[in-house]
């Protein structure tokens, strides 16, 4: 509602054990092509605990009113094996009820990396004790997440909010136009920049290769998201034109060993820009999904 492209996906409880729930979200065509996921929020409705149950809990286990709700991304591999990745975890009080929000951006990032849009997003939600040990509270047994039994009107069903930005407007444009000069209004792009190592005094006589290299640089500006979005996530800085992919630069240098110069190879990381993007400082850097 507050994002330019707002999608809301209703989920279903597929399996519910005593403390673990498996949520299934059909994601096909939910994320527009050429868009960037800013944040994905999972909303779960915590049902109020009946007063009688609360009084019984106070009598039997007065130490803590808290339980831990953990969200994991679940992948079912082709060979049938499962793997999970911890996405978000927070404490909830049994005295509160209502919508609880979890940041599941990383889970959607993982799902995107699978490149199998027809497969649903699977989220495993578990309710556990606040902590383990002999004095641990059993408050977690009182936490009920709607709607294990649908209320009929969809109220309380788990929801997945997807906040995206259209990269056609908010992204970078690839390589700069060599003919057009870069001005304040130039959209973020990658511009050629030659670094002449031979012309650098400090490199004289010991940097043997290369004589220079095409480093590229990111220039131009990025369109800023709507104010409503920056209000919602104040931790996100303005979108800036930055190098999002880089490569290393190998060199041959001559170092004196035992009084004699000896050529050797060294590789300098992140020396050449491969891709420029618009990105906000503070935004999540997606973890790479291991095969």
């Amino acid at each position: 509602r507050f994002s330019q492209n707002f999608r809301e996906v209703a989920g279903r409880f597929l399996v519910s054990q005593a403390s673990t729930h498996l949520l299934v979200f059909i994601m096909e065509q939910r994320l527009p092509p050429n868009s960037e996921l800013v944040q994905a929020v999972l909303r779960l409705f915590q049902e109020p605990v009946p007063q009688a149950a609360l009084r019984r809990h106070e009598r039997l286990s007065p130490r803590s009113d808290w339980a831990r709700v953990t969200v994991e991304w679940l992948q079912v591999r082709k060979d049938g094996s499962n793997r999970t990745a911890l996405i978000d975890s927070r404490l909830v009080s049994i005295r509160e009820s209502g919508w609880k929000a979890f940041d599941v951006t990383e889970a959607v990032n993982f799902w995107q990396q699978l490149s199998r849009p027809q497969e649903p997003l699977l989220l495993q939600v578990s309710v556990q004790r606040e902590h383990l040990g002999p004095l641990a509270s059993s408050a977690h047994k009182l936490v009920r997440l709607a709607s294990q039994e649908p209320l009929g009107n969809g109220q309380g069903e788990p929801q997945l909010e997807l906040h995206t930005l259209n990269l056609r407007d908010f992204g970078a444009q690839g390589n700069c136009d060599a003919e057009a000069p870069v001005t304040q209004g130039t959209r973020c792009c990658r511009q050629e920049m030659y670094i002449d190592l031979q012309g650098m005094k400090w490199a004289e006589n010991w940097v043997l290769e290369p004589p220079g290299f095409l480093a590229y640089e990111c220039v131009g500006t990025c369109q800023q998201p709507p104010e409503a979005l920056t209000f919602k996530w104040p931790f996100l800085g303005p979108r800036q034109c930055i190098a999002s992919e880089t490569t290393s630069l190998p060199m041959i240098v001559s170092i004196k060993e035992g009084g004699r110069p000896r050529p050797q190879v060294v590789s300098l990381p992140n020396m050449r820009v491969q891709k420029c993007s618009c990105a906000s400082d503070g935004a999540l850097v997606p973890r790479k999904l291991e095969p």
Partner: protein, 55 residues
Amino acid sequence: MTEEQILGSLLQQLHLGEAPVLDKSDVEELVTPAHVRAQYVALLKRSHEVRSRGK
């Protein structure tokens, strides 16, 4: 990218405190061995294939 950044990265990789000073006479007769050149070319090829994700 500035000169200082390139020099800083190079010194860091080589674990050096400052840029070495070599005379022209030190490198005039210097020949890069074939295995060093082969290693350089292999890294050059690899750097075109492997990209690292920045911030």
